[in-house]
Assembly symmetry: C2
């Protein structure tokens, strides 16, 4: 009769939401039963401010695991209802400090017995299932924090995804992908420096024309990763600007890109590849090491002097 129940684990999400909504609706009906003028969505904010006040909007958003616009909207409503008042923080005039008004405190006091009743009835309900749902929920939340469903599914299918990743050459139409893929990891770990900006804004001029090349990883028609090989003076070839978009990291796209780049270099008769990376990029370093790259002990005169701390590696082909 009820498809969502029949679907089991596949529709767990819908079922959890549905149950949660039912419980919230019941709570609202209980407020109505006792003629307390109170909306369910005010609960978290009222409770939080009753415990700990004053608090800023963002601070509350963090505490209540909501977005700051949510807090902003609810706080405006509650202020209109006379339940709280906000004052600018004199030490930081950006901040709006929220605290309960007397009316808000009184409301809290009249709600407390209802909250006890709701909590007690909920505990009773849960107890009927014979399982400590709260702790089960806690465990699931922790497991999910540790590794969410997306990551689990990706991990299980990484080889399958990898098999379907194709490596293609640079075309002018792909310039924007070269730029955005690299900006993604640069923004994540470093500041973008003029040298980065130069290469990203005109890869044809700064990579391909001097005798290098650029590769892209494509999956299901989507460009998901890239890498470049730059030619320096003295026939030095540098592996650089490798990036894989976040959602596809861990699917061996970087490995496939590097492998193809090295293959191309071998075909070109190149005998040695160098690269510059950073200690921060641990997965990258591991990847390079797996291809046989070793950290340079001697000087690397080809290396660009980025502000970010770098290490250089090289591999004899």
């Amino acid at each position: 009769m009820d498809l969502i129940k029949e679907l089991g684990a596949l529709a767990l999400a819908t079922r959890l939401k549905r149950l949660g909504e039912k419980l919230q609706k019941d709570a609202s009906r209980i407020y109505g039963l006792f003629s307390v003028e109170f909306e369910g969505k005010w609960f978290a904010l009222l409770y939080a401010l009753n415990e700990h006040s004053p608090m800023g909007v963002t601070e509350l958003a963090d505490y209540l695991q909501l977005t700051h616009p949510a807090i902003n909207q609810v706080s405006v409503e509650m202020e209109k209802a006379g339940l709280l008042k906000s004052t600018a923080n004199p030490r930081d005039r950006r901040q709006r400090l929220l605290q309960l008004s007397d009316k808000g405190k009184n409301l809290c006091r009249s709600l407390e017995p209802l909250w006890s009743e709701i909590a007690a009835a909920t505990e009773e309900l849960v107890a009927e299932s014979g399982v400590d749902l709260l702790s089960v929920l806690g465990k699931i939340e922790d497991s999910l924090d540790n590794e969410d469903i997306f990551t689990r599914v990706k991990k299980k299918n990484r080889s399958l995804i990898c098999d379907k990743i194709g490596i293609i050459d640079y075309k002018p139409g792909l310039k924007k992908h070269f730029e955005s893929l690299n900006r993604e990891w640069l923004d994540e770990y470093f500041d973008i420096e003029p040298e980065d900006e130069k290469v990203l804004s005109d890869p044809n001029r700064h990579v391909i024309k001097p005798g290098g090349f650029i590769l892209f990883a494509r999956f299901n028609g989507k460009i998901i990763g890239t890498t470049a090989v730059k030619k320096h003076e003295g026939d030095i070839y540098e592996l650089t600007k490798m990036g894989v978009t976040r959602e596809y990291r861990g699917c061996y796209a970087g490995r496939k890109l590097t492998s193809k780049a090295l293959e191309k270099l071998r075909e070109m008769g190149v005998k040695k590849v160098v690269l510059q990376t950073s200690k921060k990029l641990k997965t990258a370093i591991k990847l390079y090491e797996s291809f046989g790259f070793k950290r340079d002990t001697c000087d690397a005169p080809w290396a660009y002097g980025y502000s970010r701390e770098t290490i250089t590696m090289s591999l004899d082909l």
Copy 2:
């Protein structure tokens, strides 16, 4: 750190919703990972139509436990996306029969492996908690169907609520309450007949002026119930038109109203009360019996000939 977690049973609803939303978001990301153009909210409809087709909008709404506007909106979207087509039912031209298009069926086929993966990963996640969450959820849903939180809290506090219910006399301003309270149960169990309409539209003329009275039950300033006593020819007094609004049923408001009515009749020196009710109204009959009312075996010439089947009762004061 996280207030919602700290609050335990009181914030169970929020937590369940939050977890459900997280799982749904992950599912969407997985569709994106495999470049399937599919929105999470389409899932239920697509799945249902793949299993069983064609189906009407309302039929699907029942099956998926959603409202029919939800199905309507999603179906319009999915039709735009070419995933389903709708045809008017030739036997009932109100009905729009939905079925998957070839594109929809193909999409289903390409989604099936993803659904397996999602289900497997979810099962794995749940298994880590060491508890069969699905069956726990089922039990909780059943418990809730049996008696929801609202009813539990109301039951626990019925005496407390009852103590605060006051009985007040008719005032012209309360006419609309007399009408709506009675319409509530009449609509629920019967058709409203001309006799009902007459009394409800002008209680002053048809109840009070002939020598009867009307009482109201008030809780926290809200009118939650009513009853009337009509005087018939030959000093016959009839208890009638008793109704308590749904949310407050089970809090002894009817008992209090009846008790007060009988008390007033005794004060008036009345020796016998009669009433007319229906087999359908089991709680009402029980209530009357608890006051000593007995089913009439002989004729009740005062009784109005409602179309609905009635039984008459009487009590010697």
